[in-house]
């Protein structure tokens, strides 16, 4: 696992529309660009914010990621906190903006 690579990916997803488009349309291509492992990519596609924070990613980046690309049907701070606290399990599958 590379924390720096994950944080770079999160930063770009939070600030760069083109990065979000690539991530949404072709997650594997996105992962290659940031040299993410399959496990790291799954943390992003699963919106596993709790695991991302556990990895050591800056919580401001993780929250920003959620605000930009929330899991389907789980938009908002309450849903984010439910995931951060482990009340709701992460689920698979990339979601669109």
């Amino acid at each position: 696992m590379s924390l720096a690579g994950v944080e770079k990916a999160l930063y770009d997803l939070n600030t760069d529309r083109r990065a979000r488009e690539t991530f949404t349309e072709d997650p594997d291509r996105f992962a290659r660009r940031y040299r993410l492992t399959g496990g790291e990519l799954r943390l992003l596609t699963d919106r596993d914010v709790r695991a991302l924070a556990g990895l050591g990613a800056n919580p401001m980046l993780v929250w920003g990621f959620w605000l930009m690309l929330p899991a389907a049907g789980e938009r908002g701070d309450k849903a984010y906190l439910a995931r951060m606290r482990g009340d709701v399990p992460a689920s698979g599958g990339p979601r669109g903006e």
């Binding site: 770079k8 924070a53 951060m84």
Partner: protein, 280 residues
């Protein structure tokens, strides 16, 4: 010769804009009154420039470059974020003074990162919008590494404030500078404790501000701050830098609200230089 004629401490909570009606009306009213009171007091100081010390939120600066301290020295605009009620647009600058502060620091051991063009984030634009924009006074944004490792050590934030003060006093122009430290007190940003507050910690910080105890605030341990008041409370670096820029001072608390709906302990204070405070 320039003078730092005063200072203020205030929050920059973006949830005031994204969730404006979340807290009870009396709380909202007191918060807005505190900003208005600071704006009134700021006008009374008749500043030529407002220097706002903000905190990056991993928005402006990415893993490619993380400055410990940055000063914007040229064209300004902001905010970089899309926030209700704020339209991104140009901000009035005082580029000559900003360049002077940077150069003075470089000559005296302060390694400013400089931004000849700069788009500020909410930590500068919200305070500017609420307290300084009505005066049309130019702004100099300064950013300290408050939320992203490596953090600027608190004692170094003091030295940044001292460097600002020394540079202003060395300025050719007859500047009247007001320094604003922009940050929340207790708040957990993006962690599983988001929404918790610690009013005891907030009161302790404001007590030290009231006493003008810059060294006491700068002596707080980052581990303690994060454990007791959250990662957001690391923003008190902006407070100690502003206090050091004002110089020997005492604080007067203008308002305090613990607002869980906005996830932050919000403190408002004026920093009164001792020579001014003694005369009151």
């Amino acid at each position: 010769m320039g003078t730092v004629v005063g200072g203020f401490l205030l929050p920059h909570d973006p949830m005031m804009l994204t969730h404006p009606d979340a807290p009870p009306a009396p709380v909202r009213d007191r918060v807005h009154h505190a900003y208005a009171e600071i704006s009134r007091r700021l006008a009374a100081l008749d500043p030529t420039t407002v220097l706002i010390i903000g905190a990056d939120h991993y928005i402006l600066f990415g893993p490619g470059c993380l400055p410990q301290m940055l000063i914007a020295t040229g064209d300004l605009d902001g905010p970089v974020e899309r926030l209700p009620g704020l339209t991104r647009g140009p901000l009035p600058d005082n580029a000559p003074l900003a360049r002077h502060i940077a150069a003075h620091g470089h000559r005296n051991g302060v390694d400013w990162a400089v931004a000849p063009t700069f788009t500020a984030d909410h930590s500068v634009v919200i305070p500017y919008h609420l307290v300084a924009e009505p005066l049309g006074v130019p702004v100099i944004p300064v950013y300290l590494a408050c939320g992203v490792e490596p953090l600027i050590p608190l004692p170094r934030a003091v030295r940044v404030g001292e460097a600002i003060r020394a540079a202003v006093q060395d300025a050719d122009e007859d500047e009247r500078v007001v320094v604003i430290g922009s940050g929340g007190i207790s708040h957990w940003v993006g962690t599983e404790r988001m929404g918790e507050l610690n009013t005891d910690f907030d009161r302790m910080v404001l007590d030290r501000v009231t006493a003008g105890d810059t060294a006491g605030l700068a002596g707080l341990d980052d581990g303690r701050i994060q454990a007791e008041a959250g990662n957001g409370a690391l923003e008190i670096r902006t407070f100690v830098a502003a206090m050091a820029a004002v110089g020997p001072c005492r604080g007067e608390v203008i308002g305090y609200e613990a607002v869980p709906e906005w996830i932050t302990g919000l403190g408002f204070a004026e920093l009164l230089p001792l020579e001014t405070a003694d005369a009151l």
